[in-house]
């Protein structure tokens, strides 16, 4: 496998992950970081290869997916590191509020099981700074959403890159 071929996607995915960790930027850019990184990866690849040909959509989707996957790995890594040292995170901080909201729905035993699981996870993080369940949860939610948004960004990048080509 020629890793240099995928370097733009890897670099942009890492860049997006770094930016996603900065609270101010994260709030400002919302869901635009990963698609933006995928678009940037397509343009970077065009610059590196000095290509004047049309970028095909499958390449854009692939680049976007890879950008999303790389971003997922690093976002999860950074999140776990911050959680390990801080022994808290947004999820734990919003847990009491989530519990209040869930209690008002009167779900009965269904809510108890769900809350038991979450509180166990929160306790583990507060004690040791790490929870396997939390790692799995954030990895899969990041993977699902970042890869999807990455692919959309890739398609967007292809159209933008091809806009002046006949």
């Amino acid at each position: 496998m020629n890793i240099r071929k995928y370097l733009p996607a890897i670099v942009c995915g890492f860049g997006a992950a770094v930016l996603a960790t900065v609270p101010g930027i994260k709030n400002f850019s919302c869901c635009l970081l990963i698609p933006g990184a995928a678009v940037f990866a397509i343009f970077l690849d065009k610059k590196i290869t000095h290509s004047t040909e049309k970028v095909i959509i499958s390449k854009g989707v692939g680049f976007g997916f890879l950008t999303g996957v790389v971003a997922t790995i690093f976002i999860t890594l950074f999140e776990m590191l911050v959680t390990y040292f801080a022994k808290t995170n947004d999820f734990i901080q919003s847990l009491p509020q989530s519990e209040l909201i869930m209690r008002q729905w009167n779900l009965g035993p269904l809510i108890d099981d769900s809350l038991k699981l979450m509180k166990g996870m929160a306790k583990q993080i507060e004690n040791s700074g790490f929870s396997v369940l939390y790692l799995v949860l954030i990895f899969f939610s990041n993977f699902l959403i970042n890869s999807l948004f990455g692919m959309l960004g890739g398609i967007l990048g292809v159209r933008l890159a091809n806009r002046n080509l006949k």
């Binding site: 869901c31 159209r159 806009r163």
Partner: protein
């Protein structure tokens, strides 16, 4: 581009698929409003999932019986416009083309609103946010859909 029966068939399935995805995403967003126990019991996990795409600031989110939506008003506008656009497109057979300039033009209101309230010209307004989100979401959706459809039609014609 001339559209054959094959084009129409493939186009319809793409649009249907995107509509279903948009519907699932939107149901997740408004899940606090829906009386579905299963969705309520996984509320914190859904919240965690949507936190990847939105800052979820309470003051910037619509609420339903004192429970905030899972994304902010602007993101609600984006997802809502994608849902509505994909639904309308199920009944339209023509290929709707949107130029890059139009995409940029429809992105200007979002950018302007973000800049203006960030520098304090006016406070955050949910109605403005949702409206700018609707404009941006529908433009991006049509732009991306067009790229997918053109690419697939070319593949069909090549075969």
């Amino acid at each position: 581009m001339e559209r054959s029966i094959e084009h129409l068939r493939i186009g319809f399935f793409i649009r249907l698929f995107l509509f279903v995805v948009a519907l699932i995403c939107f149901i997740g967003i408004i899940s606090p409003c829906l009386n579905i126990n299963l969705l309520h019991s996984v509320y914190p996990y859904l919240k965690l999932g949507y936190s990847t795409v939105c800052h979820q600031t309470l003051e910037k989110s619509f609420t339903c019986s004192n429970t905030p939506f899972l994304v902010c008003s602007r993101c609600t506008g984006i997802y809502f416009s994608v849902l509505i656009t994909s639904f309308i497109l199920l009944f339209i057979k023509t290929n709707i083309q949107i130029k890059t300039a139009t995409l940029f033009f429809l992105s200007i209101p979002v950018l302007t609103d973000v800049i203006l309230y960030s520098i304090g010209i006016y406070g955050y307004n949910k109605i403005i946010a949702v409206f700018t989100g609707i404009l941006f979401g529908s433009a991006v959706f049509l732009y991306i859909l067009n790229a997918i459809e053109i690419s697939l039609y070319r593949k069909i014609d090549f075969k």
